[in-house]
Structures are given as C-alpha cells and as structure tokens.
Symmetry: C2
Subunit: 214 residues, 2 copies
DNA sequence: CGACGCTTTGAGGAGATTCAAGACACGTGG
DNA sequence: CCACGTGTCTTGAATCTCCTCAAAGCGTCG
C-alpha cells in the first residue's frame, strides 16, 4: 500500500529531507507502536512491513521496493502500526512530519494523498481478499507479476530481477509455506513461464502468468 | 469497514436526511460504478456489500447490520466500488452528499471520519489477512463473535440473534464453502458453544469461542 | 574449509473441496 | 389447510490441495 507519492520526490520538499540514512539487513527503520515521525522514501534496497498479531504470530503486510515510500501505517493515528525491517542494506530519505506540515502548500497535497490512499486501501483489501480464496499457484503467479510491474514502474527491468526476500517471507506474505513457494517456482520453470535460480528471476512468458490469474 | 459514524446520527444533520427508504430482499441500494450520492444509515434489516472481481467471481466484502452505516466505498473516488444489496427488507436513511458538504461545521467532522477510516481500513486489512491464514473453524468462530459484538454494540442482544445471510453468503465472505460452514456450525453445537437452528443463533459459551481464536 | 541458513525435494497426512443425495423450510396455489 | 415445488441446509464419501516432517543440496561468510 505504501506506493505513489511521486510528487513529493521533486520540488521544494526535496530541501527538507534527511538524505542518506542507512540500515543494514535485519535492522528496523521504525517499530510498531512508536510515534509517527514522517514518511520514508527508499532510495535503494528493500524493506518488509510486519504486523504483529496477538499470540506470537506475525504477518508480512507488504514489501517495499526501491523508489517506493512507506510510513502510511502511521499517518492517521500518528502511531506506526507495523515494524519496517530492511531485507538488505537500505539507503533511504526521511521526510519529517513536522516539516511537511509546516509547508501550507504541501498540506493540501498531503490531504489529497491521504484521500487517494483511503481509496487505494479499499482496492488493495478487496484484491487481497480475492487472492486469499485462490490456489497457491495463483498467489505465487500474482506475486511475481506484481513484483515485475512495481519494479518496471520505478525504472528497473520488469523481466529480470532479484527477489530480496526469502521463500519463507514470500510464503508468510502469501499465506502459504516456504516449501510450497519453492515447489511452485519450479513448476513455473518447468512450464517455461520463468527461470529462477535461488533469488534471481527471469520472466519468460508474462502473458501465461497473467492468463493463469484469469 | 462501514461502521462508526455515530456522531452523524444526532444533531442538525438529522434534519437533512431522507428517511424511510425501503428496499426489498435482493434489491440494490447502490451499484458498483455509480456516482457517490452520500452515506446510507441502516434503520432495520441488513445488507451485503459485494465487489465484482474480473471473471464472474464476486466477493462479499462485508455485511452491514441494523444501526450501521455504508457508502464508504464511494467516499474517496466519488464512485461506489461495491454493490450494496438488501439481505431482507431494509429501511434506511440517506444522507445526501451535497447537503453534508454544505454544512461547514460538519465538513471537518467528515474529514476526521475519513482519517479515522483510512486508519481503520489498515487494521481491518491486517485482521483479514491474519484470518485468511487460519482454519475454517477459526474463521467461523470469528464470524459469529463479530456478529454478536456488532449487534450488541447497537443495542441488540449479543447472545441470541438471527443471521440474515445464507450459509453460501457466509462462506463467500469467509473464503470457504457453504458445506464447510454448515459442518462447523454443527461442530460448535456438539461442543455446546452455541445452539443453531437454521438461521437462529444462540451463543452459549462465548469465552470458548474467543479462546479458540487465540 | 566448515558451519549455518536458505532452498529444494520427497512421503505421508490433515483439512477443505467437490459431488451427490436427502432433509427441511417457506411460499404458492389448489 | 394441505400438497407441492423450490431453494436452502445438512450429511456422507471420495478426492485434492496444501501442510508437516524429514533429509539432502547449495551458498555464503567467517
């Protein structure tokens, strides 16, 4: 869900950001329950957004890819709902909340963003509900296509890329086990829809993957 | 998701509403894709909110109970995303969008509501994702408890009530089949956690149902 | 090189679906 | 008021999908 926000990456706001923050793999950018301190724009590396349900069960709500923004989970309550953890070394900008609010011209943009987001949330939720009724194969296909699309949108290759998360983490996010994720990747490879070696993915026949979802 | 909004049910706003609208079972209150015309407060009866995914597969996003409000799915884009269909004869108030916006004093309330909702959406989504990884038994237990809580919140009995939706519709909403819903209801009855005869539910041991979720 | 974590692969089992048939409830018309 | 028909609900048996448990490859990093 924490996507969009391109308009904030240019303009006067650029002067306010804290650039060049670094987190190593496994380190948190913010923790669930801590006060909102603004948005985070990922410059390189990627991040997982974790929600801790009661009773030691945790859920990866989303992955954040380079060029995307996170922090939306703290916007309305001013408390982050999730913990953001680096999947690999991450370089990010911090857009401090108080500085954004100080700019009147940006405030309306910000409210508009919130509005769009409230809408996007709705779509995302319906999409996820739909997906949760589908087979493991459909979930993995959907995941691969989504990664491809999101990377392409940010100027990276949508055909060939590296998954920065483990099979375990993919499975957690999709609601299936890591063994199943692994098996299905190889099923798709057998079908010549993609090539996968460890974390390296090359999409051969995206159309087949998409058709599979319909 | 379309809950809360109590503050709108009292005060000056009450003068603006269109009261006493009726829809019979199966009739729509609004359709997906139609322009936003305001919020709907259900006075009696209940409603299902349906989202139509591509390829003839439809999903019941939520049920709306008497006393609750719907229409949130059209707020941000000004286009309804879902179709709202009466599960039984429904009597509702219509809060026209243009009249709400005309009241400056209400506008800020409205924005605040939107904000809260954006947050609530997030929680709801996480909750749903969590639930989608659980067993069919846990989903049904969660559903029963949720119905009970929501009815109680509105002043109805939380211990004994009538389900206005079919097993098929419950299953659709929970991502399981109607046979499974039926079997689990009777499992819970065998365990003496509730009594169920057709659509009539009587909760015997809510604590056990709740413990089951943990 | 060796240890550790991640990934792959296999076999068996649990849970939910599917298909099918029968029971029940409700409304309609005779 | 009862008989009938339709749709919903229940119940059973077979099947399938995915999970669990287990063990063996592979990679990476000290």
């Amino acid at each position: 869900m924490p996507r969009g926000l391109e308009r904030f990456e240019v303009g006067e706001l650029a002067l306010l950001v804290n650039r060049n923050n670094i987190r190593q793999k496994g380190e948190a950018i913010y923790h669930a329950g801590s006060p909102y301190r603004g948005m985070i724009a990922i410059r390189s590396g990627s991040v997982k957004l974790i929600s801790f349900g009661q009773h030691d069960n945790e859920l990866i709500v989303d992955f954040i890819l380079p060029g995307e923004v996170l922090g939306f989970d703290g916007l309305s309550t001013q408390i982050y709902h999730c913990t953001a953890v680096a999947l690999e070394t991450v370089n990010y900008c911090h857009l401090p909340a108080h500085k954004i609010n100080a700019l009147d011209s940006q405030k309306s943009h910000f409210n508009q963003l919130l509005l769009e987001r409230s809408c996007g949330q709705f779509d995302a939720q319906v999409e996820r509900m739909m997906l949760s009724r589908r087979s493991a194969e459909e979930r993995v296909a959907s995941f691969v296509v989504q990664m491809s699309d999101r990377l392409q949108l940010r100027g990276y290759s949508g055909a060939e890329f590296r998954l920065s998360m483990s099979r375990e983490e993919i499975g957690n996010h999709l609601g299936i086990t890591h063994e199943t994720v692994s098996r299905i990747f190889h099923l798709f490879q057998d079908k010549q829809w993609l090539e996968i070696k460890s974390k390296q993915v090359k999409i051969i026949d995206k159309k087949k993957l998409l058709n599979f979802l319909h």
